[in-house]
Amino acid sequence: MSRIASLEVDQRGSVAVVHLTGEVDISNSRELSAVLANSVVNEAAGLVLDVSETALLDSSAIHALFDISRRLDRRRQRFAIAAPEGCVIRRLLVLVGLPAVAPLHESVDAAVEFIESNTPPVQDAPRN
């Protein structure tokens, strides 16, 4: 990831947690998409994006978040965002309607718990 932002990925059980710090704009939003998509393995239950330390997201970053939510949805994986009250990004996320596809949580723990508790049972292999 470029210098204006950095991403840290850690795995909490079946949930991938990505901590995003810094700024994301059109200069690095593609990278954000790529890192987010790659951090979620097929077996994972879902993804938590932690924006509590994020300084700025622009519309292209928001676009990337909508995009990843669509992709995860197709894979039957859940997407949640850790954006505590008072973090600078929260108002923006609410403004653009992201909570409709990725619920906002007060903490990473809460978000992880949300995903784990809402994981649908593993589907049986399709019958032919």
Partner: protein
Amino acid sequence: MQVRDERPVEPKHDLTHFGLSDMIECGSRLRRCADNAFTMEEAANSMVRFLHTNLVDDAGETATALVRFYKTRPFPLLPADLQDFARGIGGQGDWDRTRCLTLLATAGDLLQWNSRKASRSHQAIPLHSPAAVEEAPMIAQLIRQFGLEIPEVVEPDPHLLLDLEQRAYNVFYVPEALGSADVPAQKDFVVPHGIRSVIGFGGVLVTGDLFAIVMFTKIHVPAETAQMFRTLALNAKMSVQRFCRTGRVFESDDPRETGEVVVPLPPQPVNALQQLLDVLESSALQHAGTLEEANRQLETTNGRLEALVKENRTLFEQARDALAERDAALWGAELERSRLREVFRKSPGCIFVTDGPDHLIDFANPAFLDRFECKECIGAPARDALGEHDRLCRMIDEAYRGEGPVEATELPFAPAGDGENAFFNLFLVPFRAPGGEVAGVLGHAIDVTDTVRARVELETITTDLQQVAEASLAMNSAHTLEETLQVVTEQAARILGAHQCAATVTVEKNFEQWVSASYLSDKYSQWQHLTPTPHGEGIYTVVVETNSPMRLTQEQLLSHPRWRGFSDFAHGHPPIRGWLAAPLTDREGRNAGVLHLSDRHEGEFTAKDEAILVQIARFASVAVENARLYEMEHSIAETLQRSLLPEKLPALPGVEMAVRYVAGGTGVSVGGDWYDAIPLPGGCIALVLGDVVGKGVLAASGMAQIRMAMRAYALEERSPAALIQRIDRLIQRVDPNQMATLVCMVVDPERGTVQLSNAGHPPPLLVCADGSSSFVEGGRSVPIGVMPHAPHQEIELSFDPGSKILLYSDGLVEQRTKSIDDGMGLLRHTASIAPDDLEGLSDHILETMVSKRPSDDVALLVFRRIKLTPDNLTLRVQAEPSVLSSARHTLRAWLEECGAEPGVIYELTTAFGEACANAIEHAYGPADGRIEVEGSFEGDEVRVCVQDFGTWRPSRPGDRGRGMQIMQAFCDVADVDATPDGTRVTLRRRLDKKQ
């Protein structure tokens, strides 16, 4: 079957009897030493081996104990091993500016004298300063005898080089090495190896480097012989000159060694000159041969005469006895009878016998009677018979009274008619009467007129040879076509002794595209302002049309139908006193112009003059062709260089910049200065200004390499020292001959810091907002490409708003008359009193410090951290995603100045980022897309306008719409207007005052 060695055995040259033909042959051999060499070292090796092996004494043994080829070279350009060696010798001085005297090649009697790397103390001697040179007496004396001043060698002034290079080739000569203060190592070298004389010959090369071949001989070398090495110096210089342009000096510079594609050396004017010299030399050799043969015959003849006198002693004594009795008849009869008379009669030499104090002619052989036209002289006093040959009469008298033989060589005898002087060698022997007293004189005169003429001719040719070689070197030192033609006219007029000379170059006989130059002596000084335009009508066009030389007397010229006279452009110009012209030709022999002379200093132009002018024109043609090539190369190099400099600086928020670049030099000497400003992710900027050593296309492409590598590495590396380190490693790997100095800085406008690393470049100037200034001396290290794993340093400076930093190339502070210190002092002073805006400052510095036609490139980059005030904000940034971050940082900083709250700052900044992103999307496409931002703070409302200059494109659905949504949500007003120039977004927001 036997295998025979087919290599021809090279003739040896006896240094004890070193003649003109030896000189000419050795000269030609030295010139060819470079023929198959790829580096100067190879050529030098070939030269010293030749001299050591082929100069012998009269017993055929090597005459030299040791022959060495020395050359000065700037320390930074030396291979690493020699740099270590030079450092080992030590001394005080700035290594980057020090020249070293390096041993390029050596050959000698001892095994260890045949490898330069075996030399214990001479591999590379640093010449830090004139004072340091004085401590080495032989080097100092050699420099002086070459006609140079020591500072000229230690630190040659590039502006005086041309003059120096032409003036300086000469011989250093120590007749008696033993005990001489100029020859060191008396105890270890001179005494044990029996060194008798030392001869050094060499000169100054176009690079300002001195070269010298020094021979330590085991025989005494007389001054006349030493003088002949002057010509050899010229030949050696022509041989090694060709390596100067390529910089291939040491074996390690050999392009084949590095796997580089071997570019053939550029066409050398020397080749054409060599052909010319070959012609002159072969005729000189012929004359020298004639002369030497004649001299041998002469010696034989004299010897034969003496032998004759000895052999026929009895006869002589009889004759003498008869004479003693004053019996002329008897003497005559004796002679008549004797074999001696027959011998005398048949002798081609003039033989005569005089008798008594009045020198009555007793006998004269037919050759004498014929040559001196005195058939009736027998019995008459010599003075009457030979009246007009007064010197001969006096010599007869001298032999008679001095009672010993008298000899004279090449005594001129005025001829009876209009013919030219004849020359005789005279040999007069007195003979004695039985009583012992001198009775008369036997004389022998040999006509040596042919020999003398052959020698005079040879001397003339030798002089011509030298002049022509000098002229050629001068012509080929000129860089532009016009300069070349100017030198051609001056040299032709000088060599042939004429008052006027003009050269005109045309293209395809088309006189609309002409370049010409003329030389006029003082006699025609009042006409010097005349620059007649060749219209393709005058007599010179005959030469162009026929492509052959013309020679006319004044009368022939005036009556020539194509002669137009001067009436139309030079009223009252005196008539042309004789005219001589030769065509200039291109490589294929087609006409390329004309070189013509008029008004010979004395007499009319001769056939020989014509032949010489044709030769001069021939190599002037090559020089002209080369000058054209160089001009072409220059323009290629300049175009290349221009195209490699950033067309415009990136507009970056938080700082402002100005640059100036002035191309220096002429010909191919385009420099390798460059600058660059690279926006880094996160709002920092890397600023680079550097100078690739060397000139021309190679330097320009070297600079391109470094610049591109810098741009690539800058994306990953933000420490300037680490950046330089990587560039250094890269350059040493891909192009070991490359060397460059540079300053690299990473500026963080937000934090107000500068990280700076300086690889051998002049220190940047820091001018603080309060006007105080200082050079940034820290963070310095060696230039790039000189030392494997060189440690590059960096320092951090704080850089307050309003402060300026000036980066510049040495061309700015090394102008002609100033020392670097003076130049730097002047820069500091100029910068402190210059206008505050950066463009004005840059102009002022150039006007003050740089001449109209600087000899070296000048690059200047000035930048400043903008001081933000709440009044207003102006930003011009490149329409590139990478600048967004720093644009937001700048806005954020400004909003803080305005007193806005963090939440408001965040929202406005986000909205502003959207506006900029919007503008960037519009501006995509046009090359110089930029965005202008203006912010103002009135009352309690902040207003920010973002203007782009792109063409409107419909925004992508969703994405942009969301951007608009964000702007509107985070601002009180967010308007998007299409303007004639592009699109303008206006954001307005009332600041909620801090509680």
